[in-house]
């Protein structure tokens, strides 16, 4: 967490443009309020969350069995199933399927897993052009940026930014920011890509052990468009996407879109079971640290996540710091508990990018105790020494003072006196981060302890 890339530094850069921060905050808060309204239309909402959580917990406890059942059924359906231990293997498998098919034009609908594995960059290095067909993803792809949100990848961009991007890449009129004009241009552009591509990559929202089928949820129908026009369908999934039975979809589909955007259901819930005649369907099941996380008792249930993004929208820190400040494919509160599992050193700052307010855990449709896990990650990371020596010494000093009442009383009294006599020491913006935007509390003449001893004893 040393260097210039910590969340707090990136957040400070983001906030430097205050009107834009306000806009970002309001936009996402609006999504949160839509989620609230949708949740309140379902009386049994809390029961539904509990059911979803139980199904996922059960599945995670029996993951091996469900994965094998899923594989058997998928194979029986004529689907080719591949297993990848990590991101590199996942990328290599996808590449080999593409190479074998002899195709170099690929469309891809939204998949956070492929972002996590940096598939696009990898394929570009192999000379293969991948076109993201989700509108938001396409916009950030043009800009060589990463998605800043798992459901709303371009939420950090304003209409003008999109207009500028399309003007540069699609030749739309300069400064025309009319959303229907811009989406029409994107539609025409993507239609060509759909027609030209013979391989379609999709993500997976739910994989059903009982049927060997997968479900992909989109609002734009781009997953279907891609798959229907292509000869080869590659579906990439993290191994935690499993649910036991098709009937469980009723629980998850009701929760997913309501939590994500406040819609009752995504516009398209596309079910894929087998390849069309003459076509191929591949499913790549990826571990990439998931079995390690499954083995961590305190953090395993982060794998219940259905990637709805509700914890992003409600997070007061995310709304005011933007997705890119999290320097990880999955940002926000859930990203902050997933990322340290992948790389503790690089992501040691993320569990600290939270006030532990607990709003994330409250909106989570599968009841992940996100804020408790943030707290627990802090303990793990500092104990393992990822806090740097400065923090360590400071905390040890604090621990010493707080275990010795007499020293504590002396320190407190001295602190108040120093503040009164040398206010410049505290009222100093570079020495004291508190003072940058806030006044210090006025030190009273007497502590409560002193008052108590004078008046009550």
């Amino acid at each position: 967490m040393q260097g210039t890339t910590t969340h707090s530094e990136k957040a400070a850069q983001f906030i430097a443009n205050e009107p834009r921060t306000d806009w970002h905050d309001d936009t996402l808060w609006f999504v949160r309020t839509k989620r609230d309204r949708a949740a309140h239309t379902i009386e049994a909402w809390e029961g539904l969350r509990a059911t979803a959580s139980h199904i996922k917990e059960h599945t995670l406890s029996n993951l091996h069995d469900y994965l094998t059942q899923f594989e058997q059924n998928a194979l029986a359906n004529g689907v080719q199933v591949h297993w990848a231990a990590d991101a590199a293997e996942h990328n290599a498998i996808v590449h080999s399927i593409i190479k074998k098919a002899g195709i170099d034009k690929i469309v891809k609908s939204k998949s956070m897993l492929t972002e996590e594995c940096h598939l696009n960059e990898y394929l570009i290095q192999q000379g293969i052009d991948v076109v993201d067909t989700d509108l938001g993803e396409r916009i950030v792809q043009f800009r060589h940026e990463l998605p800043s949100h798992i459901v709303l990848p371009a939420i950090h961009l304003k209409k003008q930014d999109v207009s500028d991007t399309f003007h540069e890449h699609l030749g739309t009129e300069k400064d025309n920011i009319d959303p229907s004009y811009l989406t029409h241009a994107a539609r025409l552009h993507l239609r060509d890509k759909f027609i030209a591509s013979d391989v379609a990559i999709t993500g997976v929202n739910f994989a059903i052990a009982e049927t060997g089928g997968i479900v992909v949820c989109t609002n734009e129908g781009n997953a279907d468009m891609g798959v229907h026009a292509a000869r080869v369908h590659i579906a990439c999934m993290g191994m935690e996407k499993m649910i036991p039975k098709a009937e469980h979809l009723g629980v998850f589909l009701r929760l997913l879109a309501r939590s994500a955007t406040g819609q009752p259901i995504t516009t398209y819930s596309s079910h894929f079971h087998k390849p069309r005649k003459g076509a191929e369907m591949h499913i790549v099941i990826v571990d990439n640290g998931r079995s390690r996380q499954l083995g961590r008792a305190d953090f395993r249930n982060s794998l219940k996540c259905i990637r709805c993004g509700a914890c992003f929208n409600t997070c007061p820190v995310y709304r005011r710091s933007g997705g890119h400040s999290y320097h990880n494919a999955v940002a926000g509160p859930i990203g902050s508990i997933l990322a340290p599992n992948i790389d503790m050193r690089k992501n040691a700052d993320l569990p600290f990018a939270s006030t532990l307010c607990g709003s994330c855990s409250n909106v989570c449709p599968v009841k992940i105790d996100i804020h408790d896990q943030l707290w627990k990650w802090r303990q793990v990371l500092m104990k393992e020494g990822y806090g740097g020596s400065g923090k360590n010494i400071m905390m040890k000093g604090m621990a010493f003072v707080l275990s010795h009442p007499r020293i504590y009383r002396m320190a407190g009294g001295m602190g108040r006196k120093v503040m009164r006599w040398m206010p410049w020491l505290f009222n100093n913006k570079s020495l004291n981060p508190w003072y940058k935007n806030r006044e210090m509390p006025a030190p009273p003449k007497q502590s409560f302890r002193e008052w108590y001893q004078q008046n009550k004893q």
Partner: protein
């Protein structure tokens, strides 16, 4: 009923009036209140920074101070929650467990244990309610905007017993103020921005005071209000419940 008053370290040092009001209020309501003099802190500043593994001495000191009372009462939701969730001492686990079970935040103590239904306080001002997260989402002092559950609020129930008071809520009823313990310095930019936004909603409501169950949130918002030369002041709920204006 013997109540051990647990005063958070920063309240002891910076806001003695909050502790005085808490003590006077509890005494008025018939409690025998003692303030164990050797108490220091609940250890939360270290634990929230990831250093709970070195807070053993601090925890032990807490247990030594608060064994032997019927209840531990604290005018802070955050410190109370920390004790409830994380007070452990090797070799003194039975005492620690007892304290974890008998520690109460002030407003929940008044409602759930003393079961009070009226107060003699008066406070003829317009007061904005700040819902502190650890009290609300941690101790369940009130219902939460994210959940689909019946609405209630222990602090509000108490404030409604005060004569002359006008209560009002910000539009985002329970968004965090951004204090967050050491978050307020390590993530200074986000913390200050969150605080500014919170304060603004209360300003828009033209309140005289912002109140809450946690002085730490209020200290953070006070710092911002003062920097902005605002007329709005902060006041801890104990000070209102113990106030007499005629």
């Amino acid at each position: 009923m013997k109540v051990g008053l647990f005063v958070p370290c920063y309240v002891d040092q910076f806001y003695p009036n909050v502790a005085i009001a808490t003590m006077q209020l509890l005494e008025k309501l018939g409690c025998e209140v003692v303030f164990p003099l050797e108490q220091t802190c609940c250890g939360q500043p270290m634990a929230n920074s990831g250093f709970s593994h070195i807070s053993e001495g601090c925890n032990k000191n807490f247990v030594d101070n608060f064994s032997g009372v019927d209840y531990v009462v604290c005018p802070s939701g955050s410190c109370t929650l920390h004790i409830k969730d994380h007070l452990h001492v090797e070799g003194k686990e039975a005492e620690a467990e007892k304290i974890r079970k008998q520690v109460y935040e002030l407003s929940e103590f008044l409602i759930d244990v003393l079961k009070i239904d009226h107060l003699t306080a008066s406070f003829p001002f317009k007061v904005g309610i700040h819902s502190s997260c650890h009290g609300q989402r941690g101790l369940h002092l009130s219902s939460m905007s994210e959940r689909v559950l019946p609405a209630f609020s222990k602090p509000e129930t108490l404030l409604n017993m005060v004569k002359g008071i006008t209560l009002c809520k910000p539009q985002r009823v329970d968004e965090c103020c951004g204090f967050g313990g050491t978050f307020c310095v390590f993530e200074e930019a986000v913390s200050a921005k969150m605080g500014k936004d919170r304060v603004q909603e209360h300003e828009d409501n033209h309140v005289d005071y912002i109140t809450g169950v946690d002085m730490s949130c209020l200290m953070h918002m006070e710092g911002i209000l003062k920097r902005q030369h605002s007329k709005v002041k902060v006041i801890h709920i104990a000070e209102i419940l113990n106030a007499h204006f005629n």
